[in-house]
């Protein structure tokens, strides 16, 4: 009843293949974007923006990157953190070499460096499959982490071995560095994430996305119908790493402000894999939902005891958070192995037929 496409006739092919073919979706996405771009920066507190919304957006983009590789192409990767790091360090070096160039351009450009790294470490993917490949991608993770520590050139021979974000302006408003306000950074992140999500959704609807999905479903069959496996897989690695690289650059430049190799270690890779799986493999919406859940849960769990008036030691809260997170992951997997995106699909169907059962 609320979500019915009855009466919405499509008279052209263009209308049929539109990104949001149903009117309600169009209204919904416009509303979400309006709220995100205008309402949130005006009303939300700096704390909410800086410690919840911005990280969710940044990690969503990384999750989209991993989802393109794991969810759409079926190549399990545990090297996401490393590729994010390549983006971040590349952006830092670019900002050092080209101080005059717009920082947003640099952030997007740093994605290309990550893409190059992705291609190199994606090379074994033709011969190695499944879990063997995931362990092979761990090689990239550890190698890149090692580089971030042992190659001082990457962090400009800084004594603290960390990268500090310089102040850069956009239309003479500071967007990076210590003087930028959280809402400014939030809007820049939101803009980049929106555009890249739109690009990704078009990419996976088109020929490239279809070849990826064919490879995911069965790579030998895909090869038999004329898909060049190697190029397809490497392209998936490149695009995925590009997204992760941009996410990594944003993580440092638009959220944290400084970073060291620890920010891009193996745990980061696992965290993003969680987001993708909990959100739903092969779903862009799922990447956002997964990121929101995985980042939001610990915050909720940490504040919950205080809200009930219980006083527990911080360390204990931390341990209970870990336990609950682990248990919830298992519960989610049992309840809905296809992820949160699947729940949304079920909900949509319910909305469509309401008040009837089917």
């Amino acid at each position: 009843m609320f979500y019915r496409e009855t009466g919405q006739f499509k008279t052209t092919y263009a209308a049929d293949s539109a990104l949001f073919p149903i009117l309600q979706d169009k209204i919904g996405i416009v509303l979400i974007l309006l709220v995100a771009f205008i309402f949130v920066p005006l009303t939300a507190s700096d704390f909410v923006i800086d410690s919840i919304l911005t990280p969710i957006l940044v990690f969503s983009l990384a999750a989209i990157g991993l989802n393109l590789l794991t969810g759409y192409t079926g190549l399990l990767s545990l090297g996401t953190g490393g590729f994010m790091g390549v983006g971040a360090y590349a952006c830092y070096k670019l900002a050092t070499f080209f101080p005059g160039i717009n920082i947003v351009v640099l952030i997007v450009c740093s994605g290309f460096f990550a893409a190059a790294a992705g291609i190199v470490f994606g090379l074994p993917s033709l011969r190695i499959k499944g879990f063997y490949l995931s362990v092979a991608t761990l090689a990239s993770q550890f190698f890149l982490s090692w580089c971030f520590i042992r190659v001082p050139w990457l962090y400009n021979y800084n004594v603290s071995a960390s990268i500090e974000v310089p102040t850069r302006t956009l239309f003479s408003i500071p967007v990076t560095g210590p003087t930028a306000t959280p809402s400014t950074r939030y809007i820049v992140v939101l803009a980049i994430v929106s555009v890249m999500t739109w690009l990704a959704s078009n990419l996976i609807r088109g020929r490239i996305g279809r070849t990826w999905m064919a490879v995911r479903d069965m790579d030998i069959a895909a090869e038999l119908i004329g898909i060049k496996l190697y190029q397809t897989k490497l392209l998936a690695f490149a695009v995925s790493s590009f997204y992760c690289g941009v996410a990594g650059a944003m993580l440092v430049f638009l959220w944290l402000g400084n970073a060291e190799s620890e920010s891009f270690n193996i745990n980061q890779s696992f965290l993003i894999l969680f987001m993708v799986i909990i959100g739903g493999l092969g779903s862009l919406l799922g990447s956002f939902l997964g990121a929101a859940l995985i980042l939001g849960l610990p915050i909720v769990l940490r504040t919950a005891p205080g809200a009930f008036g219980l006083s527990i030691r911080a360390a204990t809260v931390e341990h209970i958070t870990f336990m609950t997170l682990g248990a919830l992951i298992v519960v989610f997997l049992i309840a809905e192995p296809n992820g949160l995106a699947r729940l949304w699909q079920i909900g949509k169907q319910k909305l469509r037929v309401w008040p009837f059962a089917y």
Binding site: I128, V135, I320, I329, V330
Partner: protein, 318 residues
């Protein structure tokens, strides 16, 4: 030219001029390798029988070791503590089967993999809550494990061998041998192999999957306990040990996910390669190459044998 010399000639010159150091490095590598094998063995057991890539193996090692030390600190005699820990691992095996594996039966591999991640997080939180996060000293002397070292005079120098390392190597080989006998000769072992071959076929001849899973997870728990004692005796027992699970992964892909001998040989190759690489080539790259060298070694092997050294041949049909 100088660099080429340093890479290709200098390390071998060093090996030749100081053979005692070389033997020492070999021994270190061998012992590390045996310990890697033990962890990999836990992985292989579970992967063979349930098709689950058990990421929680590393944390099970820590958990078992912590429980052992924890019991002992509460005044339980060492051998009773050992028994209690084994009971604890049995309870864990039952819980995992009932709460995780059974509801998730027939799901995709990656989902099960993720579920073991959930288990890892849970065990980290649970373990720290009960036993505390601070490093503990393994009760190796109370368990009757030897300490001290043998000094062996050979090749114009001394080679030092820790007694605990020798004990580790012996225990590891005993464990592998008994597991081998268990798999090959006993009724349950045959059932385990049947389940590994095909879940459905095993079910159809009346093998209880649930029972098998409990047994396998219990066996992996005991392997974890042994690993925990050995690693704990070398360093301290803390959650930092968890990362050794990541060290076992290259061993696994090198040996093949389904092969017990593969885990052993893979472990030794990785252990030797890592130590020798770090000792002789590490200084060239600014040291710390241990972290990723194992993965690179495994990758090189994989490029020639995608299923690992001893893995079952991968046959793909359409």
């Amino acid at each position: 030219m100088h660099l080429l010399y340093q890479i290709f000639i200098d390390p071998f010159v060093q090996m030749g001029t100081a053979p005692d150091l070389f033997v020492q490095t070999l021994w270190e590598g061998l012992v590390t390798g045996v310990l890697y094998s033990l962890i990999a063995l836990g992985f292989v057991l579970i992967f063979k029988a349930s098709g689950v890539f058990n990421f929680a193996q590393g944390i099970m090692v820590v958990f078992a070791a912590l429980a052992l030390v924890g019991f002992y600190q509460h005044g339980v005699p060492a051998y009773l503590a050992l028994g209690l820990t084994i009971v604890l691992m049995l309870i864990l095996a039952f819980a995992v089967e009932r709460l995780i594996l059974r509801p998730l039966v027939n799901q995709a591999e990656i989902i099960l993999f993720m579920a073991t991640f959930g288990l890892t997080y849970f065990l980290i939180g649970f373990g720290e809550l009960i036993f505390g996060g601070d490093p503990k000293v393994m009760i190796s002397s109370a368990l009757g494990l030897p300490s001290g070292a043998y000094q062996i005079k050979m090749l114009g120098g001394f080679v030092q061998m820790q007694k605990i390392d020798i004990a580790a190597a012996i225990i590891a080989s005993l464990m592998v041998a008994s597991l081998g006998v268990f798999f090959q000769k006993t009724r349950i072992g045959r059932a385990l192999r049947a389940v590994a071959d095909s879940h459905r076929a095993a079910l159809s001849v009346g093998i209880s999957l649930e029972q098998i899973w409990v047994i396998v997870w219990f066996a992996a728990g005991i392997v974890a306990l042994a690993t925990g004692i050995m690693w704990g005796a070398r360093s301290n027992v803390s959650f930092a040990l968890e990362i050794i699970a990541l060290k076992a992964l290259p061993v696994l892909i090198l040996g093949g996910f389904t092969s017990i001998p593969g885990a052993i040989v893979g472990g030794v190759i990785i252990g030797l390669g890592e130590k020798i690489g770090e000792f002789y080539w590490g200084p060239l790259f600014g040291s710390g190459i241990e972290d990723w060298l194992a993965y690179v070694i495994a990758l090189v092997f994989l490029l020639f044998r995608p299923q690992g050294l001893f893995g079952e041949r991968i046959i793909e049909r359409i």
